[in-house]
């Protein structure tokens, strides 16, 4: 396959940045999208140019490092797939592909396609923990968990924090991520002691980071590589309403 790539190049956080066109020939349809970028980078290095910086780590779709806006789709055209797991067979020979970083005020570009997702860490730090005695593993049956709750919590826990929800959201909101991180704990008995301080703290951290507000447009869940359902945000809303009714505006510690 021969492809034309239009890639966002930005030297550093202060640089204005621009789309630059590259030609990549002899791409195998069996390559992953990131391998295709590796091929481009090897050629750029041989030619003495600066390679394109992009985030990646496990390349197995579970670490949440990779994240590219490919032709206006977060993680590309295939649903439920991270950019590293996307194969070039999803594209056709001769196609022009636009590759951009996630766009959000809370995710400033560090270089080229790499963005700083510390805002997510701040949200997790604001409430993504439980209080539990450490030491030997507890007896598994000592704390019963309803199967439906265990399943829903697991669904939320599948979030890899890649940021695709923010990238796709027309409001630049990180509510699906925040909701996943809130509900993976609030649905389980172990998460109850901090349930209400957690939701207030995490939503406050979300808003302080400069994310937009959720309008239930539903774009996030479509691009989510882990398929976190939209109703997760409803669970967060319910906890938030209960928390503000119960505790006023006491944030998490």
């Amino acid at each position: 396959m021969n492809l034309t790539l239009r890639i966002w190049r930005q030297k550093g956080p202060e640089d204005k940045g621009r789309m630059v066109t590259y030609q990549v020939d002899d791409v195998s349809p069996d390559m992953s999208f990131l391998e295709m970028l590796d091929v481009l980078n090897e050629r750029l290095i041989l030619a003495g140019e600066e390679p394109v910086a992009f985030d990646h780590d496990c390349r197995e779709g579970i670490c949440g490092m990779c994240g590219l806006m490919i032709n206006g789709d977060a993680h590309g055209p295939q649903r439920g797939t991270t950019a590293c797991q996307l194969h070039m067979r999803q594209f056709s020979d001769g196609e022009t592909i636009d590759i951009e970083p996630w766009r959000a005020r809370a995710f400033p570009v560090i270089k080229d396609l790499v963005v700083n997702r510390n805002a997510f860490d701040k949200i997790i730090a604001a409430g993504g923990y439980i209080t539990a005695p450490t030491g030997s593993a507890p007896e598994a049956h000592s704390t019963p968990v309803a199967k439906a709750n265990a399943d829903a919590a697991f669904e939320s826990a599948a979030c890899i924090g890649c940021g695709a929800c923010v990238a796709a959201c027309p409001n630049g909101s990180g509510m699906l991520f925040t909701a996943a991180k809130v509900t993976q704990l609030s649905l389980l008995p172990q998460g109850q002691p901090e349930r209400y301080t957690r939701v207030i703290g995490m939503v406050d951290a979300h808003d302080e980071a400069g994310f937009g507000g959720c309008t239930n447009a539903g774009e996030c869940t479509v691009v989510c590589p882990k398929g976190i359902p939209l109703n997760t945000i409803g669970r967060l809303n319910r906890d938030y309403l209960a928390a503000t009714a119960k505790r006023g505006d006491t944030p998490g510690t």
Binding site: R105, P170, G212, T215, G218, G234, L241
Partner: protein
């Protein structure tokens, strides 16, 4: 957004049911319109109830617009650098037209009040004969008025299709099954309100009500 929106939906339902009184004849419809001014009497003086309702609705509309503006400004601030290649929102048409649809609805409401409440833009504009005002308003030669009403009502329908679902979600609707119900309910509500509102101008246009 959710609380003020649901309050406005309640008004829309009541208003639509009142409109349908037009099919019960001129005397009945005019009597209904005058009765609206006497709700709560003798506890409340004449038209007091109406003014209380108008105040509540105005506060709800203003709060709704303020909340929408805050959300829109936050959304704009949250993405300072736009995408060079941006697909259309994959969610519903209703969801992505909420903001501009809302602006259209606001303009329509202003026109509608000047037309059928104060009568300034109505060809008859007789406060004692609302039935006649309606018939004069949607007369066949004033087809453009009917067209504008139709477009505005359909815009309200789209606004409600996303808005009603979104309101339930904001108030804590949290299960996938409930989401399907809320979406279906919002669609049914939107279609029912559209039909209920449009049947009146079209009845006048076709001569069913004259």
């Amino acid at each position: 957004m959710a609380v003020t929106g649901l309050l406005l939906v309640l008004f829309l339902v009541a208003h639509m049911l009142g409109n349908l009184k037009v099919f019960t004849g001129e005397t009945s419809f005019d009597h209904y319109a005058h009765w609206l001014r006497d709700i709560g009497t003798p506890l409340l003086p004449h038209t007091w109830y109406l003014w209380i309702q108008r105040t509540v609705l105005t506060v709800a509309v203003v709060a709704h617009i303020v909340a929408a503006t805050v959300l829109a400004r936050r959304a704009r601030a949250a993405r300072p650098v736009k995408y060079a290649h941006r697909k259309k929102v994959q969610g519903s048409y209703a969801a992505r037209t909420m903001r501009w649809g809302g602006v259209i609805i606001l303009l329509f409401v202003i026109y509608h009040i000047l037309d059928l409440t104060t009568g300034h833009l109505n060809p008859q504009g007789d406060a004692s004969n609302p039935y006649g005002n309606v018939v004069a308003d949607f007369a066949p030669e004033r087809w453009y008025v009917t067209l504008f009403y139709t477009l505005a009502v359909v815009t309200v329908g789209f606004h409600l299709r996303h808005g009603a679902f979104s309101a339930f979600r904001s108030l804590g609707q949290q299960t996938p099954k409930g989401e399907r119900r809320a979406r279906t309910g919002a669609l049914v509500l939107a279609v029912a309100l559209c039909a209920g509102y449009l049947v009146v101008p079209f009845a006048v246009l076709t001569g069913l009500v004259s």
